[in-house]
């Protein structure tokens, strides 16, 4: 829930706060300059409106002193802005050689998150401990994307063939909305993600759960769903630890049930929506890379009930 209409002005990290503060100063300077121009033009329009019957006004070609002032003045303002800019960039200085705490790999149209220290892999929902400053490594599996969580950090492009790093820090626990901010194809609109900052205890519990392999299906329906998962090509793209290893062509589903959204933000994660997604992902997210597998209602229902057990 946003306390403020603009996440950019509702920072929750020192990096975002530095940017927010700088932005407000710069907007103030711009507002003053705009007021001057509007004033000059507005007052001029009224004072020097053509009076009926008036003769041509005297010809005046300029005033060198004034012209120098309005060249030098803005130059001085710009030098101040430059100094502020250089200072403001320091908060996001690139790190010295350091192992990343989180590796984010962007795909068309979902976010893969890997925790190198524990081997945890998840998608679209990134948990971090509140109060820690993490180094995030950004890599792309295909085209250029952009990792943007406005309340927490600057935007950073994720460029195939390159590696970028940013600092990610959330001062207080909360949910922070993120989105891909570089047009990356058909479903760029639905490449949203969230960063969820937990208190250290909650984070530790989450991490422990994530490290467990997938829960075993307990009901017949879930068992049927697992069988369909394994035999109807789902396992070729999606990993479920303990069941199938499939590389990262598609999101890891090991703990799908605790995530808040499906399809990188297009649907909230309920059993009904999961059924809808499985019946035809193309109806919910046209153009996404998961094909319509033409599951019957019974099959989709079974798979949904299995996936909902993956806490």
């Amino acid at each position: 829930m946003q306390a403020n209409f603009s996440p950019i002005f509702d920072p929750a990290s020192s990096q975002a706060a530095a940017i927010s503060g700088l932005f407000m100063v710069v907007l103030l300077i711009c507002a003053i300059i705009l007021a001057i121009v509007v004033g000059m033009v507005g007052v001029g329009l009224i004072r020097f409106r053509q009076r009926p019957g008036s003769a041509e006004p005297p010809s005046y070609f300029g005033n060198r002193k004034l012209e120098i002032i309005w060249t030098a003045g803005p130059t001085l303002i710009i030098i101040c802005l430059f100094v502020l800019t250089a200072r403001g960039m320091r908060q996001s200085d690139p790190p010295a050689n350091q192992e990343p705490d989180l590796i984010v790999i962007s795909h068309q149209w979902w976010w893969e998150a890997r925790y190198p220290q524990t081997g945890v892999a998840t998608a679209n929902e990134i948990h971090v401990p509140a109060g820690s400053k993490w180094l995030v490594r950004l890599q792309s599996a295909d085209v250029i994307h952009d990792f943007w969580v406005p309340r927490l950090a600057r935007k950073m492009d994720v460029v195939p063939g390159n590696t970028n790093y940013i600092w990610l820090e959330a001062r207080v626990p909360g949910q922070y909305a993120g989105a891909c901010a570089e047009y990356c194809g058909a479903q760029h609109a639905w490449m949203r993600f969230s960063v969820i900052a937990d208190s250290p205890e909650t984070y530790a519990a989450w991490l422990r759960e994530q490290q467990n392999p997938a829960a075993l299906p307990a009901t017949d329906s879930a068992r049927q769903g697992l069988k369909i998962f394994q035999t109807m090509t789902c396992a070729n793209c999606h990993s479920i630890r303990g069941v199938s290893v499939a590389g990262s062509a598609a999101p890891d589903l090991t703990h799908l049930a605790v995530r808040r959204y499906l399809g990188a933000g297009v649907l909230s994660n309920t059993e009904t929506n999961l059924f809808r997604w499985l019946k035809n992902p193309q109806a919910s997210k046209p153009g996404c890379l998961m094909p319509d597998l033409k599951l019957t209602d019974a099959q989709a229902s079974a798979v949904a009930s299995y996936l909902e057990t993956l806490q």
Partner: protein, 743 residues
């Protein structure tokens, strides 16, 4: 006061005699006034197309999770909207106005090259139709108007939309560069007596400076899109990271064009405002010299700011800071102009005609857009707001609220000159208020949407608080703006028939176009007024207080430039820019070892060195040939010309032989990035040599037919200049590719 002077240069008017009539007259015209109007009408058609595309998008975005347009359709539409508005609307409109006005404003009869002018125009509808043909051939491009790699590579953009986009832009680019060469040649060589550079109307000056931007920026685009086309169609990897290519190189190359491009779209608008505001404030422009100098400053700086479009890419802070500094700096000369225009009004006697209303709105709106631009130069702010609707708001404020409002001002100002009738002021005021309210409603709220986190180029968005409402407001504003355009069209249609007759100078303006009739006759002027200052018609109307004379008495030397030479030099500058980009690509990809063929393993530097000497010798022979031609010895000229052609042909055959040898060794254009850049660079050079050989053969044919008599040899010397250029480029290419192997 001296008597009237007539223009000093005779230009043939091809339409005299058996002039075609009616519609065909418009198709066959080489008259700059008609060509200018054709540009404007074509731009208007594409404006409606681009505008409909915008309104379709705004309908889709009016509500969250809307399903009016599919994502595929939306993505094609936003790509086409941007491409259409930039290349098929704004640039043609500005070129059209330049075409119409520049010869009139300098007291000339037509452009320097009327037939080239006509060809430049016809490339516009052809390029526009080719772009839109993609809709019938698998789909329009859907990669955004700047087509970032690798999204625009075949792997991710599998329809031919991007290929049509490339071809259309190449065609349109030829037209733009040709127009700019024509404008430069016209302004430098066809000014009326007394019209020194210092006395040029600011519109002409800004078009002049702008033309240099075009001839340098468009080749950069051409180099980039040619490389993309080669990637897509010959399976190479210029911009594909999977095989060593660089996605970022595309961005550098594109924005090296893209940033000057936005100034290309702004400077002529500044020119319009610099004409309109003084006339309706009844005062000369405040600080002409500073305004003229600031134009040059903007042009120079515009080549040094391109990577401010890439602040989020991760180039490293030192590079970010350099471009931050240059981007902030470019705000200063723009500010100088805004202050100058405002000060021009101060102390004047302001007539708020429709043209002036649009000009005043331009001042405020362009300032808003310019200031939001300055916020982007502050790198950390860019890191939050780039690629959001805040950016969309920024560029629409400068391009629509700025450039397009200036165009509307220019339209109301010059329509009487072009048609002989005034546009209705009543409909004009309605047009203005609807446009003002519609534009600001549509786009001001978009600043807030960006600050609220709405990214750009999304076909829909979640139902977050406030997003739906602000998007709906923006949509309503867009439709109001569309209605304003309809009012403008109605005004044009109605005024063409029933508008008040305008007379020569309805606004009591002061530049030379107002000395001609409305509309001007085919030859523009029979006589041109005497020119001693920047406002010749003011001086005529106010002999008791003329403007002070600008500069001293004029000398003939200033007008001694020759149009063939000027245009060839300008063309060679533009070709040079193209080769610079190809050479940079070669250097970038070959500065480290890579797998596969290398220069050492593939090339025979000694043999190529021999062929190089042949090419260099051909420069000597053509220089000697020109001397013979100057000395009125046509036979000797032809022998030396034949020798030149022979040496050039030997070079090409040598190149061809090298290519065959390389192919036999199994090295193809897509073998690795050395092979790709080698074939691209030497291939385009070879193409230029072949074109040169064809030109030399044509010169030979003309000489055999008895042409180039009596010292009229400027055209032949210009071809010679081209040939020297091709040789000079080869020297650089040879040094970059082969010299290392010989040392």
């Amino acid at each position: 006061m001296s008597a009237f002077a007539s223009p000093s240069v005779e230009i043939e008017t091809p339409e005299a005699g058996s002039a075609p009539r009616g519609l065909f007259a418009w198709v066959a015209t080489v008259d700059h006034k008609r060509i200018g109007i054709l540009y404007l009408l074509t731009a208007l058609v594409f404006f409606i197309v681009g505008g409909v595309e915008a309104l379709l998008m705004r309908i889709q975005l009016a509500r969250p999770n809307n399903t009016f347009l599919s994502p595929g359709a939306f993505n094609q539409i936003f790509t086409m909207h941007g491409t259409t508005m930039i290349f098929l609307v704004v640039m043609p409109t500005l070129f059209g106005l330049a075409n119409y006005l520049v010869p009139l404003m300098i007291g000339a009869r037509d452009m320097a090259f009327p037939r080239l002018n006509a060809m430049s125009y016809w490339l516009l509808p052809f390029g526009g139709l080719l772009l839109h043909f993609s809709l019938l051939a698998g789909g329009a491009p859907a990669v955004g108007w700047f087509s970032y790699a690798p999204l625009s590579e075949t792997q991710y953009a599998s329809t031919h939309g991007v290929d049509y986009w490339v071809l259309a832009l190449l065609i349109l680019g030829v037209g733009s560069v040709a127009t700019s060469i024509n404008l430069i040649a016209t302004i430098l060589t066809l000014r009326a007596p007394g019209l020194t550079i210092r006395r040029l109307p600011l519109f002409v000056w800004m078009i002049f400076v702008n033309s240099f931007l075009v001839i340098l920026a468009i080749p950069a685009l051409n180099a980039a899109i040619v490389m993309l086309f080669i990637d897509r169609n010959l399976s190479t990897y210029f911009f594909s990271p999977t095989h060593g290519g660089s996605a970022l190189l595309w961005q550098h190359f594109f924005w090296a064009f893209g940033h000057p491009e936005v100034y290309i779209m702004a400077l002529p608008a500044f020119g319009i405002i610099s004409e309109v505001v003084p006339v309706f404030a009844r005062r000369p422009i405040f600080g002409y010299e500073f305004v003229a100098a600031s134009t040059v400053a903007i042009a120079l700086l515009s080549f040094g700011v391109w990577a401010h479009h890439m602040f989020a890419v991760g180039m490293g802070h030192p590079i970010d800071l350099f471009f931050a500094a240059s981007s902030m700096l470019i705000a200063v000369p723009t500010g100088v102009k805004v202050f100058a225009w405002s000060a021009t009004m101060w102390g004047g006697s302001i007539r708020l005609t429709t043209a002036m209303l649009f000009a005043v709105a331009f001042l405020i709106q362009f300032t808003i857009g310019g200031l939001s631009g300055v916020t982007f130069a502050v790198v950390p702010i860019d890191w939050q707001v780039t690629d959001t609707y805040y950016l969309v708001a920024h560029f629409h404020y400068v391009l629509f609220g700025g450039t397009f409002f200036a165009v509307f001002a220019g339209l109301y100002y010059w329509f009487p000159k072009m048609t002989g009738r005034m546009l209705s002021e009543r409909l004009g005021k309605l047009n203005f208020w609807m446009a003002l309210i519609g534009f600001n409603t549509a786009f001001f709220v978009q600043h807030f949407l960006g600050l609220m986190g709405m990214t750009r180029r999304i076909y829909t968005y979640p139902d977050l608080p406030g997003w739906g409402l602000l998007n709906l407001i923006s949509t309503i504003g867009a439709f109001l703006l569309g209605a304003a355009v309809l009012v403008l069209l109605w005004n044009i249609v109605v005024s063409l028939r029933h508008g008040q007759p305008a007379g020569d100078n309805p606004w009591q303006a002061w530049t030379l176009e107002w000395a001609a009739t409305s509309p001007p006759p085919a030859q523009n002027f029979d006589r041109v007024p005497p020119i001693r200052s920047r406002r010749p018609l003011w001086d005529l109307a106010h002999p008791e207080r003329p403007d002070p004379e600008v500069g001293g008495p004029t000398s003939r030397d200033e007008f001694a430039l020759e149009k063939n030479r000027v245009s060839m030099v300008t063309f060679l500058i533009s070709e040079g820019a193209f080769f610079v980009m190809l050479i940079l690509a070669y250097l970038y990809y070959n500065n480290h070892t890579m797998d596969g063929p290398t220069p050492a393993s593939t090339l025979n530097a000694k043999k190529t060195g021999v062929f190089t000497l042949c090419l260099l010798a051909s420069s000597l022979t053509i220089w000697l040939a020109e001397r013979k031609l100057e000395a009125r010895k046509p036979a000797a000229f032809r022998w030396l010309l034949a020798l030149t052609i022979l040496l050039g042909a030997v070079f090409i055959l040598g190149q061809g032989q090298e290519y065959l040898h390389v192919f036999h060794a199994g090295v193809m254009v897509n073998s690795n990035l050395f092979a790709t850049t080698f074939f691209t660079l030497t291939g385009f050079h070879g193409l230029h040599v072949c074109v040169g050989l064809v030109a030399l053969l044509i010169v030979m044919g003309l000489s055999l037919a008895g042409d180039f008599k009596q010292g009229r040899i400027e055209a032949a010397k210009s071809i010679g200049l081209y040939w020297h250029f091709v040789d000079a480029v080869w020297l650089v290419v040879f040094s970059v590719i082969y010299l290392r192997l010989l040392l």
